[in-house]
Amino acid sequence: MRVAELELDLEAFEGPFDLLLTLVLKEEIDLAEVDVAGIVLTFIETLLGRARSGAADEAERELGEGDLEACGEFLVLVSALLELKARLLFDDEAPELAELEPEEAAEELARRLVEYRRMKEASAWLASRLEQERDRYFRLGPAPLRPIGERPIVAQDAAALAAALRELATPPKVVSLAHMSLRYPPLEQFVERFRSLLGRRSRFDFEDELGDLSRVEQAIAFLALLELGRLGEIAISQAAPFAPIRVERKTKERSSVWTNARSA
């Protein structure tokens, strides 16, 4: 019998034991969801099943030795699983538990087992009760009851109410919509303007040419400059912050040489 091949059928997992271990170590299954007691039960049931089906004496003894090994392996794996799970569940308690003496630890464990045992029996009682009461039929629905008790209103301040009313009575400020009707020339217009300017001159200063335009128009003009810069038609320079912006035509010699070379 091999522990790794133990077939499990748990609430959170169905398959061989070694796959469960792999998934837990890869953190693809939350160990908190895994019912370790269920694994132990499955293992014991499998062992008992094998013992019952064992036929010849000798074969049985061999099987027994094999099972002893399997039991050892299983104990190691399950205790590791349990420790992992305990650490997950009792994150902040872990150091305290580690400091406990064996007797105290046993008492703590007993306390928890007892607690769970009682709840388990209580759930069995509930289950049988549910079975007894299965033929109870009653009306279900929201209770059409008047809410009980009146809610006292918090003490109110007349001045605060007056202030709030005054605010409501004041006509609201007119919101300026000026920005919505903002008009400015299209970018292309400036692009063409700069191109023709640079056709006549090899360089110019931004402020000299456009100083008399509005702020918005200047902004559009500057965008047009950036566009020309991006296209590689001009070079933009500035000696220092806030110094005049100098715009220069880029010599096209290089590219024309290249074009000539190709067409040749």
Binding site: R118, M119, S123, R129, F138, R139, P144
Partner: protein, 201 residues
């Protein structure tokens, strides 16, 4: 023509009160406590009790299709058990009636220890309780009841009147005493201490 009322024949003051209580119980879809009945009927609790006794006699198993029962901290009418098969044909099986083992354990913990939080349930059961708690909330068997003290206060839960109704218990005191549960508890404790002594030695 017989002009007498169907169920309550006399016109004594108590009978009149019993008729009022009867009407209130028919209208309500949740159990009504004696205090609530007294307030609605504008009468005192002692007389309400007497009226309820009168009604309980009339609305009892074998005598009527409707049965008056003391449940979930109050009084409510339900169908008689005789009528259960007919009711079953009319209604779908209520969702509250089929509960998994995990749901029952969680319900037991909340019933006994509530209000209690999900971390507490997880600690006792040793399995994450998220899905089970959500399931019980959806079925209306538990409800939120404040938050834990301290930082990050987890939501606490308690069982609802519907829980008591589904399980047919008048109040939580009807649950078996916790001390009477877990019979082999001492054995476990002894065994664990024996192991501890061996390790400690």
């Amino acid at each position: 023509m017989d002009e007498r009322p169907l169920r309550l024949i006399t016109n004594s003051p108590l009978d009149l009160l019993a008729r009022t209580v009867e009407a209130l119980l028919v209208v309500a879809s949740a159990p009504l406590a004696v205090d609530e009945l007294a307030e609605a009927a504008d009468d005192d609790a002692g007389r309400i009790d007497a009226a309820l006794r009168l009604l309980a006699e009339r609305y009892s198993e074998g005598r009527s299709g409707i049965v008056l029962e003391q449940v979930a901290g109050g009084y409510a009418l339900r169908a008689s058990r005789e009528a259960a098969p007919a009711c079953a044909r009319l209604f779908e099986r209520p969702a509250q009636r089929s509960l998994s083992q995990a749901a029952l354990e969680t319900l037991a913990i909340v019933a006994y220890l509530g209000p209690c939080s999900r971390p507490e349930i997880t600690r006792i059961r040793g399995v994450a309780a998220e899905a089970t708690v959500a399931n019980l909330l959806e079925r209306g068997l538990i409800a939120e009841a404040g938050r834990d003290d301290g930082p990050g206060g987890a939501i606490r839960y308690r069982v609802t009147p519907l829980f008591e109704r589904v399980f047919g218990i008048a109040n939580l005191a009807e649950l078996p005493r916790l001390d009477d549960l877990g019979g082999d508890v001492e054995q476990i404790r002894e065994r664990l201490h024996a192991v501890a002594e061996q390790r400690g030695a």
